[in-house]
Amino acid sequence: MGFLIISLIFTMAGVIASLAARICCNKGPSANLFHLTLVITATICCWMMWAIVYLAQLKPLIVPILSEGE
């Protein structure tokens, strides 16, 4: 459940970033497509990193065992 919500947040962030890029630097169709590509790639990379780390902690096989002196 939390996974889906935060994934949606990532999607929203990606959309907002593309809109921001379009508003700030509107430099012709080819450059716009290039900026869009960059934003989408970045969003996907970031989401993937987060998703891997989140899913790995969803159902952990081991738990933290505190070391002496903590």
């Binding site: 939390g2 080819s30 590509t37 960059l38 990379c45 990193m49 738990v63 933290p64």
Partner: protein
């Protein structure tokens, strides 16, 4: 998207009448969008048309280098931005440069001569001062024998040529009377012992040697360093001894100067020498000032002249590449230019025709080309660095997909996976921001090789730092310390006493930590097994993505090519010749040249081979992608070590000095090892992943770069 594939290039031919040739080529150089093909590649440099002009330009730049040398040696500082001066013609410049050079060489020779006589007079003065002392004491010990004072001129051969007034006063000719004579002179202190011994042996001990070091250091003309000198006086008798001693003096490079025995004469000569010295000093000073003035006036124009000569040489080198048609009095040139620049080049050529008052216009038309065009990506200062990274592996083939489009994001991302620490990321971000903020100032300066690379890649560093901050937040490491930024940890003790915390561990009681690695893991005994497995999984997943993406590019290719082939050759009988419009996604050369049937099976087998190659490569890539895990582990461990073993250790003591030392060591270790070394290391490995694993899958990279004739790209060597 323009950046994905090379700009469309056309092959053009120019026919330029001779009178407007020079102007046309220099205007094209200012525009900088046409790459000339060398039509005289088989000729040696001496067979080319404009070889004389190139030689003249070479001579002029030699003279300019000579001036620059002289100016630096004289220590004159030039104004950074000289006042604008009127334009000057090349022939006039040549004449002016020759004049200036002649003048400068003359001045240098004169001052050299003056300096020589100045140093000799200086030596003479020292000899007079010291030797005078010896002679006085020698005189008081004399027997009442007649002694003839010999005032011969014992000297090096060329000393006699520059006879001074002093020598003319002296009595000429040696005296043949036997008696105690002496030779006085000056020699380097380092040689004095050997000199004395040699004299002793040569005269069989029948000599008296007196020496006194002179306090002042002087410049030895031979080695041009400051050496210590010693004044000596040798008393001897006999003609034979005299010749021997003279020869030994010559061999040791000792300068001999005659000193009169009479005290009044000594004083007189000393006075003359002193006045002569001061005269020479003023003359030398005046000469130096005159020369510096000349150099300064040259220096004002130097930069402008240098640029002009360099441009002219480039223009003549380019003109040499064109074919000179003697009968029609025109030059024929061929080259590549991007399609979008065609109207600009037309304008430039028209302007050249007008400016040179030529009756005939320049012909500029498109031709068919046999060879493949050069690759041209229009980059701005942001995409330039990434394009260079890709080009270092290989320049894209014409109209091939440009990996730089994705490299802009994936390269910093992979770097960040290996570097993830948002504290270090913030440091990198500050560095990148400083570089970008002072872009203009640093861009015009000459930087060292390391700073130049860092400055050129400032946008790469910016993106790397942003992604590193993101990955640092995910790994939850701030200088290796985790924070509870995104809420509480998901783990707690099994019961209130926390007895089992050190044996069985904590227990997960709610949803996972929403963003990144749970902070409870840091410092626990099971931290490494958990993180290792996490990072390994990440590497493998990234690898799988790379593997899955590529068959999409390879497999559809034969089907697409087949479709295009059929479309293109629908109306085969009405094929147009010499069309310049080429389909961007196909293979233009092969499609035009090979008119035979499209062999579907052949292409498919080709693709199969590619795919098999690719699968085998994927196996080897697995191990390679695990470097993402390895490097991020190394970074995190280094960071932990510095934090725990340096900072925390030092902070444990109450002593402020130990704490300060600990802080300093921590700062230095962080800056040099983590920020610099780890940055370079992660950069290198991300680069390798890109070059080998990513680009080798689909990238041919066997094109050549578009290098237009442009004044802006002329090498700026000495400035």
């Amino acid at each position: 998207m323009d950046f994905l594939r090379s700009e469309k290039m056309i092959f053009v031919q120019l026919i330029i009448p001779v009178e407007s040739a020079h102007r046309a080529v220099s205007y094209i150089g200012e525009l900088g969008l046409l790459q000339f093909k060398d039509l005289n590649a088989d000729k040696s440099p001496f067979q080319r048309t404009f070889v004389n002009q190139v030689k003249r330009c070479g001579e002029m730049s030699r003279k300019l280098r000579f001036f620059k040398d002289q100016i630096t040696k004289a220590g004159i500082v030039l104004p950074v931005r000289p006042a604008p001066q009127p334009d000057i013609d090349l022939e006039e410049l040549e004449i002016q440069l020759a004049e200036h050079e002649h003048e400068l060489i003359e001045m240098n020779a004169n001052s050299e001569k003056l300096r020589q006589s100045y140093s000799e007079l200086l030596e003479f003065k020292m000899v007079l001062q010291k030797a005078g002392g010896f002679l006085v004491s020698a005189q008081s010990h004399t027997v009442a024998q007649e002694r003839e004072l010999d005032e011969n001129i014992y000297s090096k051969d060329d000393y006699a040529d520059r006879a001074s007034l002093l020598e003319q006063e002296m009595r000429p000719g040696p005296s043949n009377q036997a008696g105690l004579r002496f030779i006085s002179g000056i020699i380097c202190t380092s040689k004095i012992l050997r000199f004395e011994r040699m004299l002793f042996r040569a005269t069989r001990g029948n000599m008296l040697f007196n020496q006194a070091p002179s306090e002042k250091y002087a410049i030895d003309p031979m080695s041009t360093e400051m050496v210590e000198r010693t004044v000596f006086v040798v008393f001897f008798s006999g003609q034979q001894a005299k010749t021997k001693i003279m020869r030994i003096c010559e061999a040791f490079g000792a300068n001999c100067y005659p000193v009169p025995e009479d005290i009044t004469k000594q004083r007189q000569i000393t006075q003359e020498v002193l006045s002569r010295l001061s005269e020479l000093e003023t003359t030398l000073d005046a000469g130096l000032r005159h020369r510096n003035k000349a150099l300064t006036s040259i220096g004002f124009h130097l930069r402008k002249w240098t640029i002009m000569v360099r441009k002219e040489k480039a223009v003549y080198d380019t003109l040499n590449m064109l074919n000179f048609d003697v009968t029609k009095k025109c030059l024929v040139g061929e080259g590549w230019c991007p399609i979008f620049s065609k109207p600009q080049i037309h304008n430039v050529l028209q302007r050249a025709t007008l400016d040179s008052n030529s009756q005939v216009g320049i012909i500029f038309h498109v031709m068919d080309a046999v060879e493949s065009p050069p690759t041209y990506f229009r980059t701005n200062c942001f995409t330039n660095a990434f394009q260079e990274i890709v080009d270092a592996y290989g320049v894209a083939r014409y109209q091939e997909a440009n990996p730089a489009v994705y490299t802009v994001i994936t390269f910093p991302f992979l770097f960040a996976v290996m570097f993830g620490d948002w504290g270090h990321g913030i440091c990198l971000l500050l560095g990148a921001i400083i570089l970008i903020a002072r872009e203009n100032k640093l861009g015009s300066q000459k930087l060292g090789s390391f700073m130049e690379m860092a400055f050129g890649g400032r946008y790469v560093i910016l993106l790397m730092s942003l992604f590193s901050i993101y990955c640092g937040l995910i790994y939850n490491e701030f200088f290796s310390v985790p924070y509870h930024i995104f809420g509480g940890t998901a783990y707690k003790c099994r019961d209130t006493t926390c007895r089992d915390a050190h044996t069985a561990g904590l227990v997960k009681y709610r949803d996972p930590y929403p963003f990144g690695v749970d902070p409870s893991w840091r410092g626990s005994r099971s931290e490494l097994p958990f993180l290792n497995s996490l990072k390994m999984k990440m590497s493998i997943l990234l690898l799988l993505l790379a593997i899955v993406a590529v068959p999409w590019m390879l497999l559809p290719k034969p089907f697409i090519l087949r479709k295009q082939h059929l479309e293109r050759f629908q109306g085969r009988t009405y094929r147009m010749l010499g069309t310049s419009e080429m389909d961007p996604d196909g293979e233009p050369d092969s499609a035009r040249q090979h008119l035979e049937e499209f062999n579907f099976s052949e292409v498919f087998v080709h693709q199969m081979i590619h795919s098999i190659e690719f699968v085998l490569g994927a196996v080897s890539n697995t191990a390679s992608y695990l470097r993402l895990w390895a490097l991020s582990l190394a970074h995190s461990e280094l960071s932990t070590v510095f934090y725990e073993k340096v900072l925390l250790l030092a902070w444990g003591y109450d002593n402020i000095l130990i704490r300060l030392i600990g802080l300093v060591v921590f700062a230095f270790a962080t800056a040099f090892i983590l920020l610099m070394m780890e940055t370079l290391s992660a950069f290198l490995h991300a680069l390798r992943l890109h070059w080998v694993e990513f680009q080798s899958k689909f990238y041919h990279g066997d094109g050549y770069k578009f290098k237009p004739f442009s004044f802006a790209s002329l090498p700026d060597d000495d400035d």
